[in-house]
Amino acid sequence: VDFDPSEEQRAILESVEALLARHAGPRRAIELAAKGEYDTALDRALADAGFAEIARSDGAGPLEAALVVESIARAAGVVAAGAGMLVAPQVAGSALAGPVALARAGDAAPIRFGAHARTLLLLDGGEARALDLPPGTGEPVRSNFGFPAGRIDAAALRGGASLGRGSGERLAAWWRVALAAELVGCMRACLAVTVEYVSKRRQFGRPIGSFQGVQHRLAECAVLVEGSGWLAREAAWLGAPAEAAATAAAQASAAAARVFTDTHQFTGSMGFTREHDLHVWSMRLQALRLELGGVGAHRRAVAEARWTPGA
């Protein structure tokens, strides 16, 4: 057990942070969101730097991929990082043509990146299927939740290559790990901008962040976020066993509800504006909280994996 990054991990994180500082950030996310666009340039920069393959490269693996996914979320990258860099390689055995979107069979609701994805990983019971999506397959859907969304017609969800027995469980588990990593990245950013805001904003002659009523709720948020972060990392390191993956997703989804409520509460009306950056990450928390059945389903998955396997 070692909670500090190794030298290799430090190098990976430094290089991805440097890349994100140039190519991502909340301002760019706001700009792209206004047009409903996907960040093709960031995707290309990440691929050129070798990050697309990080989960299966020498000297790195799914844990390093999860760390990078968290960083990208924290930098508000408008790319399908979790699905492309973590889920696809771990479920299909290699990176798939990106952007990659994730969906559940029989669920016709809009999904993240649904109008931009070239590959769809479909969770269909115990099996996962990979489908090529010809351009124009997904219908763009305007969304207020921070990601370009799209609806894919049910007819387009037939066929595709089965990824074999057990691939459904694998997809669900890695999807949960990726969700947890993205939630954690977004939550860290929400907390950081809120801490900055309440440290500067003065009312009653003092910074509002000096009130204990504010401090305690942010401290509790920090405890929940820290715990979620380590759970996501451990789940990735363990190779996404069902219980650990669901545990990370359950804890991060529950934390996200608290972080959303409290960071918006403490940033007041300013936090609701497009002028302030909070919404870039906070609205995404809600989108992420919806996936794979949400917090209730993650929690049931924890219990089923631990206490009633195979039931």
């Binding site: 000096s210 820290e226 380590w230 359950a250 804890q251 049931r300």
Partner: protein, 381 residues
């Protein structure tokens, strides 16, 4: 970042689990239901700790020169997890090995080390901690118990409260004010006081937490020999802070909560409730809370193993442990229903121990103040 255990650590855990299966008697549940301060559990702990000591496990994380084996903090954490999850058969002695011994090792004279450490590492001495006072709880530095140097002794006057294990204790780790003119953090000292000295009176405070859980201790003109002083006069706050840092993650409460959850699930299974999706959801929620506390505690152990200076991560871990215990305690009552009304039932025993989580070793609100200030960097009032 990685989360693997060494083969040696894994082997140790297996050996320990096998030992515990044999060392804990069939009526252990009955023995332990009164809590770690109960007469039955204290009596049991004496023989049990001696057996751990014989195997070299009780204080293996101490240096070999002082009754240890130079083992890692991880090894001691494994011991703590397995013992706490079984209701802590070390009884009050977990305190001795977690922080009283290490604090004496760090701040004590060789003479004090020779006097105390061999007995602690042999598992045959009981200690209590004298921190809280009637007017000094969360605001610990408001404490008023006086210890004034007079010739070859300190004259101690005052009282301590909420003290556990004191009826059996042979020594008290006493935080007191050695400079009567001082205030707050300054002028505090730690005395290692033999409880047999004349002038010490103990009164039990009956509580719903467990047998002999709380006491008030009165010191009236107690003459404590000057060589009871730990460290320097006036160094008390530094020593207490160092000790508390250890204590905050010393008790593996998350491990007990996680084990309790497994027990509850078996009860729910017997009653045919395990197909209830609402119950599964709550169980999953509680389990995730325990797991988060486990990793946040491991993080502090990692820092300790690397001998890094203490950070707010210890407070984070303590808050997470409290959340885990509460989540499981609430669920315990819900799963057990009316059976929980019986004193000593599984759910009731856990609930009783868990209800102190947010208060023991510093109220949650104090931990949150520290997280807000040190981790988040929020401004002071």
């Amino acid at each position: 970042v990685e989360f693997g255990w060494s083969p040696d650590d894994l082997a140790f855990r297996r050996e320990l689990v096998a030992f515990l299966a044999e060392a804990l008697p069939p009526d252990w549940e009955e023995i332990s239901k009164g809590g770690p301060g109960s007469d039955a559990q204290v009596a049991f702990s004496r023989g049990f700790c001696a057996r751990l000591a014989e195997r070299g496990w009780l204080t293996q994380h101490w240096p070999s020169a002082w009754g240890g084996r130079d083992a890692s903090s991880w090894r001691h954490a494994i011991l703590g997890e397995e013992l706490w999850s079984r209701g802590e058969p070390r009884g009050p002695q977990y305190m001795n090995v977690n922080w009283i011994g290490p604090t004496i090792l760090r701040f004590g004279t060789d003479e004090q080390r020779r006097r105390h450490l061999p007995r602690i590492s042999a598992g045959n001495v009981l200690w209590c901690q004298g921190f809280s006072e009637p007017e000094a709880g969360s605001d610990l530095v408001a404490l008023r118990t006086l210890a004034v140097r007079e010739g070859d002794h300190y004259l101690v006057n005052g009282s301590k409260i909420w003290t556990s294990y004191v009826n059996h204790a042979e020594f008290c780790f006493l935080l007191c004010r050695s400079d009567p003119e001082s205030s707050r953090h300054r002028g505090l000292s730690v005395l290692l006081v033999p409880m047999s000295l004349p002038g010490i009176e103990v009164r039990e405070i009956p509580s719903v937490v467990g047998e002999r859980y709380f006491h008030e201790v009165f010191f009236t003109e107690v003459a404590a020999p000057a060589d009871c002083l730990l460290g320097e006069e006036g160094q008390g706050w530094e020593i207490a802070s160092w000790a508390l840092q250890y204590e905050r993650v010393g008790a593996a409460r998350y491990a007990r909560a996680a084990r309790m959850l497994d027990v509850l699930v078996e009860e729910a299974r017997r009653r045919g409730r395990l197909s209830d999706p609402m119950l599964l959801e709550k169980l999953g929620e509680a389990r995730a809370t325990c797991e988060a506390a486990r990793l946040l505690t491991y993080r502090v152990i990692d820092q300790r193993e690397k001998a890094l200076p203490p950070t707010a991560d210890a407070n984070v871990a303590r808050i997470a442990g409290t959340l885990a215990e509460r989540a499981v305690a609430d669920l315990a009552l819900e799963v057990s229903g009316g059976e929980a009304l019986a004193y000593g039932s599984v759910a009731e025993s856990h609930f009783r121990m868990a209800m102190t989580a947010g208060v023991a070793i510093g109220a949650t609100e104090i931990q949150m103040n520290l997280v807000a200030g040190r981790l988040l960097g929020l401004p002071r009032e």
